[in-house]
């Protein structure tokens, strides 16, 4: 059995045990006077690289001490420190030592609780305190010594194993360093055996896939979930290519795109499209570009002017390509004017200031806010509302949704925003991806349901600890292992 994880209660007990051990010196007999000898050490310590991990774990096994289980209360596991770690350990010790000396010196002068009385001290006394402390520190500096090769400095305590256990998984190692390991047995009287050490240093090896399915932090389960989800999306895309048309729920905000563009046409005013204030590496900006391509195509058909100020130059370049191609598709390549797609500034509020001014001056008849927005959302939407534009917003920034909802005519909320491209293009493949997305939703709902059921059952069966803990463990496994 591998025991990298221990229950909290046991951990507490062991910690208490270890701390008491730390205060006891090696090889000394216990205080109660009972004469007993330390247990014989475990033997044949072997370190093997842990399979299928991301190169941070080593598996340690040993043969049990011959006194196990009669005279063994626990095993202590250590690993060697790297040179840097040893340095740090010594530096820490030095600091602790100096601090202790300084505190002791001041206490000698002012008694305990001197800190509280600091405010009462006169300037003279304060100077005195400082002198005393710095002298103490100097003294401590010279007296402190530590042997970098001492076992205490070289080996770092990692954890414990119970009697009868002969395995331990060491985690969080550096894949570039080599380590040796040490295991000691502790007797019932807390006396310790000599340590058994691995002879050769071992470096954890990075495997090609992090396939730990039963511990948290691994990416095994995530990869499964992603495979299922992506598979569902791809499946539905492929199916949609040949299958019958997929129906989508009406989204008023997207139905209104033509209306907004039409309004701009009739009023002879420009359409404003703001693709958020994030760069192209934000998926929302990409989604905005896909929507822009549809809107600009409509605008081209209606012969309306579409203006796209951007906060990033890469977005500007992309938007230009997108709009140009849309004009081409609409059969009006001459009508395309790249000067209407321009860069303003990366600075959030500079961008907003520009947009507000421009909106008040040019009074666009339709405003689209698609992409990632922050505090500027309300400023933009209120200004647009004031100049009487039809406004359609779409964002995946939950914090900004309320502002858009209050001030815009239509708001694409979260996933609607991502569904927009599919909706507007109406292409079966894209609509298929929406169906795949629904599969993801079903998985989420299913997992939520299982989780809730397990924890509810655990709570309901609390009268029966065995059963309850089974449910709880299952729930924990779901929560901590599968879903991390």
């Amino acid at each position: 059995m591998k025991h990298s994880r221990v229950s909290p209660l046991r951990l507490l007990f062991l910690l208490a045990l270890v701390s008491s051990l730390a205060s006891a010196t090696h090889g000394q007999e216990a205080d109660d006077g009972v004469v007993s000898s330390p247990p014989r050490p475990p033997s044949n310590l072997r370190a093997v690289d842990y399979p299928m991990d991301k190169g941070e774990k080593i598996d340690l096994t040993w043969d049990l001490s011959l006194d196990d289980p009669e005279n063994v209360s626990t095993y202590l596991v250590y690993r060697s420190r790297t040179d840097k770690e040893i340095e740090k350990k010594i530096a820490d010790d030095r600091k602790k030592f100096i601090d202790a000396v300084k505190t002791a010196a001041t206490e000698g002068l002012f008694g305990e609780g001197w800190k509280d009385r600091m405010a009462d001290l006169t300037q003279e006394q304060l100077t005195h305190v400082r002198e005393v402390r710095s002298r103490a520190a100097e003294r401590a500096e010279t007296t402190f010594s530590s042997d970098p090769t001492s076992e205490d400095n070289v080996y770092k305590f990692l954890g414990t194993a119970m009697p009868g256990e002969n395995e331990f998984v060491i985690d969080k190692l550096d894949g570039k360093k080599s380590y040796t390991f040490m295991v000691k047995a502790v007797g019932t009287d807390l006396s310790q055996s000599a340590g058994v050490v691995t002879e050769v240093g071992l470096t954890p090896v990075l495997q090609w896939f992090d396939g730990e399915w039963n511990t948290s932090g691994g990416r095994f389960w995530l990869s499964i979930i992603i495979l299922v989800f992506c598979g569902a999306v791809v499946f539905w895309i492929l199916r949609a290519r040949s299958g019958k048309p997929i129906r989508v729920r009406k989204i008023a905000g997207l139905e209104a795109v033509d209306e907004a563009v039409g309004r701009a046409t009739e009023m002879g005013r420009p359409i404003l499209f703001v693709p958020g204030i994030q760069d192209m590496n934000d998926i929302q900006t990409i989604a905005a570009m896909t929507i822009l391509s549809h809107i600009s195509k409509t605008a081209a058909e209606y012969d309306a002017k579409i203006e796209v100020p951007t906060a990033r130059s890469l977005v500007m370049t992309t938007a230009r390509e997108t709009v140009q191609a849309s004009y081409l598709t609409a059969g009006k390549p001459d009508a395309y004017n790249q000067d209407l797609i321009y860069y303003v500034t990366d600075e959030q509020f500079g961008f907003v200031a520009y947009l507000s001014g421009m909106m008040v001056r040019e009074k666009p008849a339709a405003c689209f806010y698609m992409g990632a927005f922050y505090a500027e959302s309300l400023i933009l939407a209120e200004t647009g509302n004031h100049v009487g534009a039809i406004q359609i917003a779409g964002t995946a920034m939950p914090a900004q949704l309320p502002f858009f909802v209050a001030a815009c005519d239509y708001t694409l909320i979260g996933e609607e925003f991502f569904a927009a491209s599919a909706y507007l293009s109406g292409s079966p493949e894209e609509l298929g991806s929406l169906k795949g997305q629904d599969v993801g939703k079903i998985i989420v709902v299913f997992l939520m349901f299982i989780g809730i059921t397990l924890f509810t059952l655990a709570a309901l069966t609390s009268a029966n600890p065995g059963l309850s803990s089974i449910f709880r463990n299952m729930g924990d496994f779901l929560k901590n292992v599968i879903l991390t």
Binding site: W208, V234, D279, M289, R312, M316, Y342, F349, F418, K441
Partner: protein
């Protein structure tokens, strides 16, 4: 061809990032990809600056309505650029005192710092502060108890508005702290609403968004949705 190459790059980039996440050995690849993007984005700064200049110069030369603003914009842009890039008035770093430009561009007291402290900072703070006014006018206009949902939202808004200030403490101060009803004290109730109802709602939206993000990403990677490259859906 014009579309195939970007599609291939998108696909490869995406695949590398995904693989990098799951296969520890390739983890560095993902970071490399991110660096590539940073490099591109940095180069794009120049592009943006050039476009800005061109745009506003054109506005000025065409004397379009409001060209005066463009003049201000150009002057501000050029002055800031010169002062910042030239590190004018900046003392060299003490460690590299031989290099005139080794100082920090926004050193206290330098012209750039001055521009920042007395120009940029108050201006952006002003823009942000406008929010307070807009929130008030939007609330006045939009918070109408039109239907049940609206009434619910309205009630919650009042609780939160009061609970987030001392008014909440005063209004429900009569409820003793240790009584069974202490949860009804506005300040506690506010926290409860935020942590329970609001969190639940937000989680739902976030799950939807996350799935949307994943499926959109997948569409883009697989080239199903090419409209951002300007296919116009056709």
């Amino acid at each position: 061809m014009k579309r195939t190459v970007p599609l291939i790059i998108t696909f490869l980039g995406g695949v590398v990032l995904i693989i990098a996440y799951f296969i520890p050995y390739t983890q560095a690849w993902g970071e490399k990809a991110a660096v590539f993007f940073d490099v591109l984005a940095a180069i794009a700064f120049v592009l943006g600056g050039g476009n800005l200049l061109k745009n506003h110069l054109k506005k000025v030369s065409d004397r379009v309505a409001g060209w005066g603003y463009s003049v201000i914009c150009l002057v501000a842009f050029l002055v800031t650029l010169t002062v910042g890039l030239g590190k004018i008035g900046v003392n060299p770093n003490t460690q590299f005192s031989n290099y005139a430009w080794s100082g920090v561009y926004d050193q206290v007291g330098s012209p750039f710092w001055w521009l920042y402290e007395y120009g940029f900072k108050p201006l952006t703070a002003t823009m942000f502060a406008i929010l307070a006014f807009y929130v008030a006018s939007a609330a006045f206009r939009a918070f109408r108890a039109k239907n049940f949902e609206a009434i619910l939202l309205l009630g919650t808004a009042f609780i939160i508005l009061l609970g987030r200030t001392y008014a909440g403490v005063v209004l429900t101060g009569f409820i003793p702290d240790d009584s069974a009803f202490s949860g009804l004290k506005l300040e506690n109730f506010t926290v409860y609403i935020m942590q329970v109802f609001n969190t639940a709602g937000n989680r739902a939206i976030m799950i939807g968004i996350a799935l949307g993000v994943a499926s959109t990403s997948l569409k883009v990677l697989l080239g199903v949705d090419r409209s951002y490259l300007g296919s116009g859906g056709d």
